[in-house]
Amino acid sequence: MKTEDWVSMLATGVEAIDPTRTARCHLLAIGGGLAGALALTGGFLRLNPALSHVVLEPMFWIREAYCASLALLGFTAVTRWARPGIRLGFVPAGIGIVVMVMWIFAATVLLRAPAQNRSHLVFGTTAAVCPFLIALVAAPLFIAFVWVLRGLAPTRLRLAGAAAGFAAGSLGALVYSLHCPELAAPFLGTWYLLGMLIPTSLGAWLGPRLLRW
């Protein structure tokens, strides 16, 4: 078929695009995914019974800020990689800085602690399940982000999938922290990060398959 005919066919009767649609899809994905993650945490895992005391500790808010800032950066990466031709800008550096700050903090905590306490600071009591539970809580968010990316046009599929996984993982960690009793920085720098990286690698692996258009 001639390209000229093709162009006139595509250009005939074109409807205007609603410019808010993309933003609404992103909000819907976050809302739906968060609802799923909260339901899993509240219904299946149960909230931390000590939550009302724990919120008074500064470490609780450091943990929330750690997860929230990574979630914000991850979500920014998703919205940017959802559109063709937009660069990531500050996002990778931002993620690096947040993780480095947490690691430096963890290292100082470990160095100051008496040697016999160090292993407990790293492993806490839930290290064996924590990354997997974070990945579980992140699952509805991951599905929501992949859904929104499928409606848009990512051009670097592996990276877009990884971004969806990281955003889901870090936001999932934020929700999971309502259940989790661990507050030590070495724990957060290891097992929380590992929990976020499970959906990230899953996204990088599935991205080219799920996001093609």
Binding site: M1, W6, M9, L10, G13, R83, A153, T155
Partner: protein
């Protein structure tokens, strides 16, 4: 990538992709960067598909007379399009035919098909997406 038809196919696929994905364009962004990223994606897609099937092709001699015949007069184009459209369900084919090919308004098309106006728009949108998928699977 030296066959002119293949380049033209790529251009058409690209135009369709730009049309179908126009909601992903952010007006604050340079248009060229957006178009180029889509073009790059579709080109890589084509090359990847080719690399998978290329081993199965026998090269033809391009100087042959029967290959030099001009292709693509209007009738042939209509025939190709009709063949593609035949594969779509009514709710997608008729809106595309009325609005996109015959050039009637969405309201008219809605009246002629008995569908609602928004159903016509959705039909066009989904139909074009489906066409994009068909074109890709033909190759």
């Amino acid at each position: 990538m030296h066959l002119p038809e293949e380049v033209e196919d790529l251009v058409q696929e690209l135009l369709l992709a730009i049309h179908n994905q126009r909601h992903t364009y952010d007006p604050a962004q340079p248009l060229t960067a957006w178009v180029q990223a889509i073009a790059r994606y579709k080109l890589i897609d084509l090359l990847r598909r080719r690399s998978r099937t290329n081993g199965l092709h026998d090269p033809l001699d391009h100087d042959h007379d029967h290959l030099a015949a001009a292709d693509g007069d209007a009738a042939e184009a209509r025939y190709d399009l009709a063949k593609l459209l035949q594969q779509l369900p009514h709710r997608q084919r008729l809106p595309i035919q009325y609005v996109k090919i015959e050039g009637s308004s969405v309201a008219d098309a809605a009246k002629r098909t008995g569908m609602s106006e928004s159903a016509v728009k959705v039909g066009i949108h989904r139909g074009l997406k489906a066409l994009a998928g068909r074109i890709r699977s033909i190759e």
